[in-house]
Symmetry: C2
Subunit: 276 residues, 2 copies
């Protein structure tokens, strides 16, 4: 019978010596014999057990649980553990797919920020259909300051958590102002939103923003919004269009780069229009 030292066994099984010693100490996997010198001597046949341990570990099962499963020597227990793991894996894949999309969105947001027109730019843009997750805060943003907006974002976060949605990074949030209020110069908006992906959020929780032509003005300061809205309205009249939907204040980038501990905002104020 071949006697393997800890180093040989480690190499043979692609595991570190330290780890084998650890497994011995916690009683998960011990050498077949101990020499009088204290050396650990393993039997190659023990590899079979180590295989299972490594396999279960690769499934993310804790050493404690692996030990329990193996001590039980209960096949059905191991099997149900595997089934449970299968379920978890399925979920994890789903989570990662969401994450992948979130990353895409954020990176998009960065590039949008980099290539965005300068502050004050007025232009027409065709924007495709979007989905938003909306929360009505019942408080008028225009009556309060930036701090209140932050507060409201927290509320939106609460809401996302409650609806069991992944916590999206707020790189694409904003507020909605009714068409009527926009036209009447009445600054009254209580609705806050984040843009979301249709595939990851149940349709019942989202609102669709129709595709179409939007009159847009870019804005680098939260506090300039009111003034820029006026310019936007003037622009629309000037080019002979009419407003055909709700106004949106979209933050297209929202990165605290400065030392101010506040958001480094870049807004795209927009309203859907059509030829009169």
């Amino acid at each position: 019978m071949q006697q393997l030292t800890v180093g040989q066994m480690a190499k043979l099984n692609h595991i570190s010596e330290q780890t084998l010693r650890l497994y011995d100490r916690i009683g998960l996997f011990s050498p077949a014999h101990r020499g009088e010198n204290g050396y650990r001597y393993y039997d190659i046949k023990q590899s079979a057990l180590l295989d299972i341990i490594q396999y279960m570990k690769s499934l993310g099962i804790s050493l404690k649980d692996i030990k329990k499963q193996l001590e039980g020597r209960d096949l059905t227990m191991i099997e149900s553990a595997l089934r449970e793991k299968q379920r978890q894996t399925e979920e994890e894949i789903k989570r990662l797919k969401t994450q992948r999309r979130a990353l895409e969105r954020t990176i998009e947001s960065f590039s949008r920020y980099r290539s965005a027109p300068p502050d004050g730019t007025l232009q027409m843009e065709y924007i495709g259909q979007r989905q938003m997750y909306v929360v009505d805060t019942r408080v008028n943003f225009y009556d309060y300051d930036f701090e209140h907006y932050e507060n409201s974002l927290r509320r939106l976060q609460d809401s996302l958590v409650k609806d069991d949605l992944p916590q999206i990074y707020f790189c694409n949030a904003g507020t909605i102002l009714n068409r009527e209020n926009f036209l009447a110069c009445k600054f009254y908006s209580t609705r806050l939103f984040v843009f979301v992906d249709r595939e990851f959020v149940p349709e019942s929780l989202t609102t669709t923003v129709p595709a179409g032509n939007y009159a847009c003005i870019y804005c680098d300061d939260f506090y300039k919004e009111k003034a820029y809205i006026s310019r936007l309205r003037a622009y629309i009249n000037e080019i002979g269009y009419e407003v055909c939907g709700d106004y949106i204040c979209e933050s297209i980038a929202d990165i605290p780069v400065a030392k101010t501990d506040s958001r480094g905002m870049y807004l795209r104020l927009q309203v859907p229009v059509r030829f009169r």
Copy 2:
């Protein structure tokens, strides 16, 4: 300016107080002010930074790295970190998909074990096409004992690692004996394999086992193989078939349930046949 205590800030941002204190201690995220009483006072506007931290954390970036990124305040650095994370996510999804399949295989193996015919059963079976990953050990298994087989499995594992393949649990491994040797009663086999999935292993690394009718005999002991091969051959002659391909000794379940620290093997010895 609203001053938030640690508890309020925690609730607002769905994070624990402990964690906020931890972040303060490691200098990742500190309160705007400290009261004379030592209390931490946060500014709601700091939530923006916490958002980013939470976001980066959700991507699995370590706190240390997050700190570094944010201290740099370098947008392009953050962006490239995100891109790196995107790559990692992609890989992780791939890994999990492989894991999902491996789990399926193992669970399959359990149920195959449970429903397998008793030791000694002889029968014809139609078996679909399979892919195998083969290693030639250049040593004849039949000249050595079970220990040597274990040793060879380690070699197979080395090979899998070298080829950058996921470490499949050896629940479906075996050996191949040439048709000629099988017919000549010459026990000479040096090739070891595991069955793999086409989708997860490059085709260049796999060997296809054709679909077809196989004469099979079930065997619960490694050491009975030679005797059972004779019975298999006799059976094939008896029913008037002829061997049309290589013999395979497939371990259909391989679970160390017993206290022996060795594999609890269940073998399906098989050889493709056709009507003479």
